[in-house]
Structures are given as structure tokens and as C-alpha cells.
Amino acid sequence: MTKFSAWNVFWNGLTGQKGWGRQWRDPAPKSHYDVVIIGGGIHGLATAYYLAKNHGITNVAVLEKGWIGGGNAGRNTTIVRSNYARPGNREFYEHSLKLWENLSHELNYNVMFSQRSHISLLHSPGAIDAAARNYNTLRRTGTPDAEIWSLERLKQVVPHLNYAADARFPIMGAAVQKRAGTARHDAVVWGYARAADQFGVDIIQNCEVIGLTRDNGRVTRIETSRGPITAGKVALSVAGSTSRLWSMAGLGGLPIETHKLQAFVSEPIKPLLDQVVVFGIGGAHFYISQSDKGGMVFGGDLDWYKSYAQQGNLPIVQDVSEAAMSVLPCLGRVKLLRHWAGVVDMSMDGSHFLCKTPLDNLYLNAGWNYGGFKASPAAGWYLADLVANDRPHETIACFDLKRFERGLQIDERGAGPDPKLHG
């Protein structure tokens, strides 16, 4: 495999770009693997990579029903941050952010991680107090770059926002995480796939898991559209499809509902917005950044009812457009280029599950809500650790399926057990 370097780019430029081969193999599935990971999103691919790299486990397959990165991995708005305030989430997302900071080097693949700041607008003294409390907590617990900005500072740094005094919700300040930002989602998928493949991991596309046979408390056989496979250990990493796989294994209910989330991109325009800006008040929810190609990438709330259809509804298009106009009125004449939806695994407390399951050799990675892109490196890192050592690392011990029975909800929003409210 060609190692990417400035020299390689230069040399191929001089020699007609003929030196680039395919980046990972396209193997046929073997009949047995030590570990099978179901789901070829970023989480599944990252898990395969860290299994090989951190734990020396390389007889691994990633099974993907479509093409890798065709799910939420390729549909998200690419926001990466670690400004979570609840214990458990703080340590987890900060670990993830640290992995992001070195990811391009580690994978020898430019994932275009851009630490451009994540700016949450604040519209009331109460909101400023609440944000200050959370961000003070963050600063004291290992996230040094959490800041509260005054209106004057915000106006200097982000001049185009709607600062009108007669705005419905006038802006009063902002909560800012400076090491947060965006990354190129497809590049992360491809980077992990290529790096895992180099360790010998089989990435098998167009391979849908259609049945899980269990015997004596273990998964004994995986039925796929490309034939049966057996595995020592099986990891589920299928985002919005988790309940479908869970019921194939006959495991009953889960604290998860599948909802859909839309995203939008405009026609490319000249550089306008250097940061990620988030607006959320009184029922509105909106986040926006500008891609390297110039498109304004933005999104808002879920579609508000449970759905497995990867297709969004029109009321949300209107909702999100209205939010866009109230924050950045200068976007009024910009044309919408595309919009799409992904099915997300909304959990009962808005936090995820990285844990063992009632079956001895089945491991679960799910419940990522809106926010699993930023989590990808750490989700892969800890899931690999869990599969390899068959015990949860202390950082993920709270992300088990039994936490609700113990009375624990890791609920950043304080919204209670209603999955659609955790957006």
C-alpha cells in the first residue's frame, strides 16, 4: 500500500497520477473469524483498526450491508466537540477529542480535522449562568478550552450573525470550545478502513446480516446475504438498526428508539463562517458550519416521530430554514443544494451503550443519538478494548444496559426517558 506523503503527491503529479492503487482489498468472506463486527460505519471500522493495532487481533471481519460509510457515517454534519458536562461523558469525549487531534498522522490519511471552535449562542442571563456552570466544570475536569464569551468578543470574531436588538431572541453571549470543530466524514471512514485493511482485517461490503443463531448463551452463527459465518466474538455497531439485530438474537427490548435526523447543504459560497455556530432556544435547534468546498452545512431537530426511513419530512426543512434565517439572515438568497436523512439510535437518556450483553460473546455499541461522529475514535478504541479483554474499561463502565435499573441516567439535557427529546 502506498504511504501517503508530500513526496508521493509531488511524484505522482509528475508521472500522470498512475501510482495510486486501490486503498483496501475486496475479499470474499471466510467461514470463520476471531471477531466479526457488524456494521461498516466509522465505529465498526475504528473498532477493527484498534483491535488490530492495540490488541494484536487481526483475524477480524467488518460486515456491511451496503457500502462502508453509507449510513450515518456519511450523512452527518461532522461536528466534533467534547463539551459534555456529565461524569462519564466528560472523560469519554475528551479521550475521543485527543484521538481526533492525532488521527490524520496515526492513519496516514488526511481526515481534515479542523479545530475551528464550536460556538453555542446564549440568549438570556439564565442561559449564560447554566453554560458557565457547565464550562467551569469542564475546565476543572480536564477540558481546558471551554470559554464563556461576552457579546463584544463574539461580535468581533463572528461578525455576520443577527445581532439586531429587536431579534426575537437577541444574542447575549456564547459558550465556546476552541479545540472543537469539524472533520471530513468520508475521509475518516476511508482512513480507518485503509488502516484496518493494512493489518489484515477483511472489510466485506454488500454483506447484510439477516440472522443470528444462538445456543447456550452465545452467538453461534451469523447468517449473511453472502453465506453463514462463525465467529469467536461478535460486536454490534449498526447505529439506527440496533434493535433489528437485537431482535434477530431474540434479546427482547432495548432502551433505544430509531428516529431520523436530516442535514442540509447549500450551494458553495465564498468564506463566510470560520466556526461551528449553534443556536438553540425555545423549541428552535440549529447548527451550522461551512465546508471546505464552501457549502453551508447545517441541521436541526429530529423529524419528531419514530422512523426507519432514511428520508426526511418537509416541516423540518421549514423549521431549519427559519432557524437559519433568524441566526444568519444573510443566507436568505443562498440556494439549498441537497438535503438527506439518516436513522439514528436515540437512547432513553441521550447517552450511549458500550457494554457486554446477555450473550457471552456478543458486545454492544449503540445509542449514539445525534452525536456519534465525534465519538467515533473513542467508541472504536473502547469497544476494541471491551472485546479484547472481555471487561469494560473503567471509563465506559457506566455505559451499560443496566444503568436505568440502578437509577442512573446520564442525561445531559435533563429530558427524561423520551428518546426524541435527546436531540
Binding site: 428508539e257 426511513a309 436505568f404
Partner: protein, 94 residues
């Protein structure tokens, strides 16, 4: 847009309604074991296909409704008042 044919108000856009959630859940008695309450409050079958769910016509009659809807195609198969007494009256069973 999903059109929900409210038994009280007639066909309306789904944006007039609030989504409740899984309508097949029955809450256990107050002194039931904690596992039963855990299952009712936190565990969902999360069906891909036709499920029974609750919606409230918040911007209309404010009644709670039981809707059978396909969670993949969004096709609505049936809709009736969640309150069994209202349903019985409307459906001519009383």
C-alpha cells in the same frame, strides 16, 4: 407529510400532532417489581414495520390517539381514540 385522520377533527397534517411513543406499553401496578417498571419505562421493541403508537392532536382537539403506522413506509393503517370509552362510542359499540 403524514396525514393523520383524527377521529374527532378529520384529516390533518402530522405537524398539528405531537408524537407520544410506543402505544403497546401497559404500565404495571404501583407495587409491581422494579423490573416491570424498568421494562415499561425504558425498554422498547422499536419495531421496523407496523407498530401501535400514541399521538396527541395538540393543535386540534388535544385528544390522545392510538395509531397503527408503518415505521418504514409511514403508511397509517388505523387511528382511534386512545381512551377506550371514546373509542367505543365513536365506533358504535356503546
Amino acid at each position: 407529510m403524514i396525514i393523520l385522520n383524527c377521529p374527532f377533527c378529520g384529516p390533518r397534517d402530522h405537524s398539528e400532532f405531537d408524537y407520544g411513543g410506543d402505544g403497546s406499553i401497559t404500565y404495571p401496578s404501583l407495587d409491581a417489581p422494579v423490573e416491570d417498571w424498568h421494562a415499561a419505562v425504558f425498554l422498547r421493541d422499536n419495531i421496523c414495520g407496523v407498530q401501535t403508537e400514541t399521538w396527541q392532536h395538540t393543535q386540534g382537539c388535544r385528544m390522545w390517539l392510538l395509531v397503527e403506522r408503518d415505521t418504514m413506509s409511514h403508511e397509517v393503517h388505523s387511528i382511534r381514540p386512545a381512551h377506550p370509552g371514546h373509542a367505543a362510542v365513536l365506533e358504535g359499540k356503546v
